[in-house]
Symmetry: C2
Subunit: 112 residues, 2 copies
């Protein structure tokens, strides 16, 4: 099993939309997450004093081919519709590949 | 069980020290984490393009009195020595209570 941490940044006027979307994540997206071996999946939000809205995403990948599972996810029309709703909420935090909004973090510590 | 996400910020010149400390976390600190019901505990780091160093900490609390466990942790002399090493590495991200360096985030999404 592999743990991933990603950081993202929301456009302040889009924060409410992003939070509301995730309070009622579409069942097809949840099914595809499971099918692609993403487990114990959390997203947290924090507004900083300067008005920056940060997201942190934590997930445990339990499959054996992450790239293939992510390609399968990206090919799902329902997931594509979901991302079309979510991605405009982001202010990419660094120079990411086209279409990417989450930046991978480096693990520093782990204790079981 | 309750999941917590915290965000922290490191002073750039202290980043290496913080990472090195956590690559060899003291056994007494690890024992106290376990004893205080902190499990599946990860810390991630990301340097942003503007030179900001962010930390994200994810932990699962499996006890039934978080405040009492945290008081017990704070009373441990070895933990106090550990924090005396770690806390000077932080640039508190907002106006936190005295001695605090991690800011609690809000959960937005969870899937088992």
């Amino acid at each position: 099993m592999k743990r991933f941490g990603w950081i993202g940044q929301l456009k302040p006027p889009m924060t409410r939309k992003y939070i509301d979307l995730h309070a009622n994540t579409w069942p097809a997206v949840l099914r595809r997450n499971k099918d692609c071996h993403l487990e114990n999946y959390s997203i947290f939000h924090k507004e900083l004093p300067d008005g920056t809205h940060l997201l942190f995403s934590y997930v445990e990948y339990t499959g054996d081919n992450f790239e293939a599972d992510m390609r399968r996810m990206a090919a799902d029309p329902e997931v594509q519709r979901w991302w079309a709703e979510c991605k405009p909420c982001f202010e990419p935090i660094e120079n990411l590949p086209p279409g990417e909004v989450w930046a991978l973090m480096e693990p520093v510590f782990y204790q079981q």
